[in-house]
């Protein structure tokens, strides 16, 4: 049977067909749909979990794989930084049942803080790396990865990019194999599973031997293949870039690598000897190119195809023409296209903004007004960095805000300071730095923005909610307020995020406190809230066109058609289809022009 699946859905299907029994991850674009799909489609056969963070997922994955269950761990590219500590020991120990890690990289930074190329991790960890080109391979490679994992006794990394994760293509579906019902007893084998130095000393040579064995295997493995065509140009490539190369260079010979660590060196040498000119086309870093050059093979690579951003078919074509690898086909260039393109450069963009009804709006309205230094974190609230707020001054990694705030404190800044962190991010990696602030007598306000969900990645659960993965699966809710108190924070204040005055009073109280304090701004994400209110409206007879309501940066607020003749400015308008009646704009309106629907209107 055939099905049209996204790369993420295909990975989920692959887990099903590989007999994976446990799938764990932390949400992160572009990887999040893998766990969601497994829960929704294969939840009967596979246990799913949004773990507190990627390292927790990796450790739990290792523990389950030691116990004899096939495991899948999913993450976005930066999550591998978090789980790498645990990946490194699993490389030494190996496993009893398959342990497959999927990293969804993000060339082009569609929703990430960097463009790190996670292929490097497999060189560091000395483990196999598989790079699917489309959804069929995404599914097949999960099954293959599970086999390789057990065959070579190692964790295996599968690397997708946004274009494989979020593209759909046709997949042939297979069936699920028999899986063990019960497992155990647990292998009491510390020589294999305890990396104490005296054991690890013996593990390392095994890792090195394994790498040699896998390199030998790579030479004949079916997923590495040479497609001989015109021999004047040979291209080595992998992953989704292979499909681009097929479009841009339909005539060229191609060495398509499905497994990019370790490399099939004999196959590469044979390909090199069979073509007149050898090119490596890879997105981001010269991972393949440097290794091929180290084989004393001269290749064209990053001097033609730059290491930043995506390398789409149009880009490959452009750079290839520039470097003389491809002749420009004049018939393809439409003069008419070019005329349009110039006019397109001045088109208004749709910059991201907080949703209408977002609970984060009040906090950033105040932070903008109070001009405090703000250490920021990762989540929807990072939109507070953008106009009209411009009120997150640093941001770099999950949970970093609290540690950075501590650093601002250590540095002896003359001004008071705060940090912003979401509920899910706090559980992910905010607890350790908060304890550190308490223990070391730091000062600063941690604004913990609790919207009851992991919002930006698509509304997943975290330990602070009472459901897990799907809404109908109950879970134990961990209360934030007693948690931070138990960590030793003496000043903890909880405020209603939809009440600007309450947030302001709470913030000022926390700022006055000479020690670490936590201000919990509580308000449900508009996607979670079950209580949207009727739309507000602007009484144009009262509105004086001061435009102060624009300072809350709400997409529902725009210009009315009517001007105030005194300042010649347009009055405000609230778009009724967008407004959720959160009340924030009414609180900043100095004239009372913004009003909720009257009881009479509501009754209508």
């Amino acid at each position: 049977m055939k099905s049209l699946l996204s790369g993420n859905e295909a990975v989920a299907r692959g887990a099903y067909e590989a007999g994976v029994q446990i799938a764990l991850g932390y949400p992160g674009t572009p990887s999040s749909e893998i766990i969601r799909t497994i829960a929704e489609e294969y939840g009967k056969d596979i246990y799913t979990e949004w773990s507190t963070n990627e390292k927790v997922a990796m450790d739990a994955g290792a523990g389950a794989a030691y116990s004899g269950r096939r495991c899948l761990v999913t993450t976005k590219q930066v999550g591998v930084n978090v789980l790498s500590d645990s990946l490194m020991y699993a490389v030494y120990t190996g496993i009893e049942a398959a342990l497959v890690v999927v990293t969804a990289d993000d060339p082009g930074l569609f929703s990430s803080q960097n463009e790190q190329d996670n292929r490097w991790y497999t060189r560091l960890a000395k483990i196999p790396l598989l790079e699917p080109a489309d959804s069929q391979e995404a599914k097949d490679f999960v099954i293959l990865a599970a086999e390789l994992s057990e065959k070579f006794d190692t964790p295996v990394l599968i690397r997708t990019v946004m274009r494989t994760s979020h593209s759909k293509s046709v997949v042939n579906l297979g069936s699920r194999p028999q899986t063990p019902e019960g497992v155990g007893p647990f292998p009491r084998n510390p020589e294999k599973y305890n990396c104490t130095a005296s054991n690890a000393r013996h593990m390392h040579p095994r890792v090195e031997q394994r790498l040699l064995d896998m390199a030998e295997y790579a030479e004949t493995a079916p997923f590495n293949r040479i497609e001989w065509k015109d021999r004047s140009l040979g291209i080595i490539t992998s992953g989704v870039i292979y499909t681009y190369v097929c479009d841009v260079f339909p005539e060229a010979s191609v060495l398509k690598l499905g497994m990019t660590n370790p490399l099939p060196k004999k196959m590469i040498k044979k390909f090199f000897e069979g073509v007149e000119k050898l090119v490596v086309i890879e997105e981001l870093d010269p991972v393949l190119e440097e290794q091929i050059r180290a084989m004393a093979i001269d290749v064209i690579g990053k001097e033609v195809f730059p290491p930043c951003l995506e390398l789409l078919p149009d880009d490959i074509k452009k750079y290839s023409i520039k470097a003389g690898l491809l002749r420009e086909d004049k018939s393809e260039v439409q003069g008419s296209n070019k005329t349009g393109l110039k006019a397109l450069q001045e088109l208004p963009l749709r910059s991201p903004v907080f949703c209408a009804g977002c609970p984060h709006r009040s906090t950033f309205y105040l932070l903008n007004k109070m001009k405090l230094p703000v250490a920021g974190d990762i989540g929807c609230y990072n939109l507070g960095t953008l106009p009209p707020f411009r009120a997150q001054h640093t941001m770099g990694a999950m949970g970093a805000s609290i540690g950075v705030l501590h650093g601002l404190s250590l540095a002896g800044l003359p001004e008071n300071r705060v940090c912003t962190i979401g509920d899910s991010t706090f559980f992910h990696s905010g607890m350790a730095p908060l304890v550190n602030m308490v223990h070391n007598h730091s000062r600063g306000v941690v604004i913990l923005m609790d919207n009851s969900v992991t919002a930006m990645t698509g509304h997943q659960d975290h330990p602070g909610v009472d459901w897990a993965v799907t809404r109908d699966r109950p879970a134990q809710k961990v209360e934030i307020e007693p948690l931070v108190k138990a960590m030793g924070v003496k000043k903890v204040k909880v405020v209603d995020a939809f009440n600007i005055e309450e947030v302001e009073t709470g913030l000022k109280e926390c700022l006055d406190y000479e020690g670490p304090s936590v201000l919990i701004t509580r308000g449900e994400c508009v996607f979670v809230s079950k209580n949207p209110q009727p739309a507000y409206h602007v009484d144009l007879g009262v509105c004086v066109a001061c435009q102060l309501c624009f300072k809350v940066g709400c997409p529902a607020i725009g210009l009315a058609e009517e001007k105030n003749p005194k300042n010649n400015k347009f009055k405000s308008h609230i778009e009724p289809t967008l407004c959720t009646g959160c009340d924030i704009c009414r609180q900043v309106c100095p004239t009372g022009a913004i009003q909720p629907p009257s009881e009479k209107e509501e009754g209508e």
Partner: protein, 216 residues
Amino acid sequence: MKNTNFLVVGVGGQGTVLSGDVLAEVGMTAGYDSKKSDVLGLAVRSGSVISHIRWGEKVNAPMSMKGTVDYLLAFEPLEAIRMAGYLHPDSTAIVNEYRIPPAAVTTGQIQYPQVEKIKQILAGTTQTVYYINATEKAKELGNVKAVNILLLGALSSLFEISPRVWEGVITKYVPDSFRELNLRAFEAGRELIGGDKANISCQASVLAEADDLEKL
């Protein structure tokens, strides 16, 4: 065989992704190889959404190159012209006339392009542009959210694939409670282009020259 390339573009919340999913699956159901690639803006709501869909005997890349898109299905005029560079002179564009001004426009920082400018940019890239008011039509049917299936209906009338195939895929993709509404929207969309031509302004005759565009 040459691939057939589509672009489905719009604003987050309009249901463009679902339309593209249906379109890609119709291709597969009709016996083609089919691929799709989505680019979603950072914003959950109100960002630009772009979906590439390609049908063919064999499809390689999931996205098209500039100047190779055969059909543009635009849910919003500004999003339509953003993609003008992907079209070629024989492309067909279907553009929903309903505008969704970005925040920079609603707060008065920049102007939304004039209708004439939009029409000239598109006319400068391709000869066949259908402007339809799909949003209004969907409202008439009782739910503005059906605009995505209505636009698909309009596109479907340009193909010889049986409407039953499209309807089968639509039924699979939309929630049961909205099935009847969406099938009506699909039919209404088909009529907008395939049947009653009263609502259509085809811009085949307007071909702007480069100089004209720069004056705008």
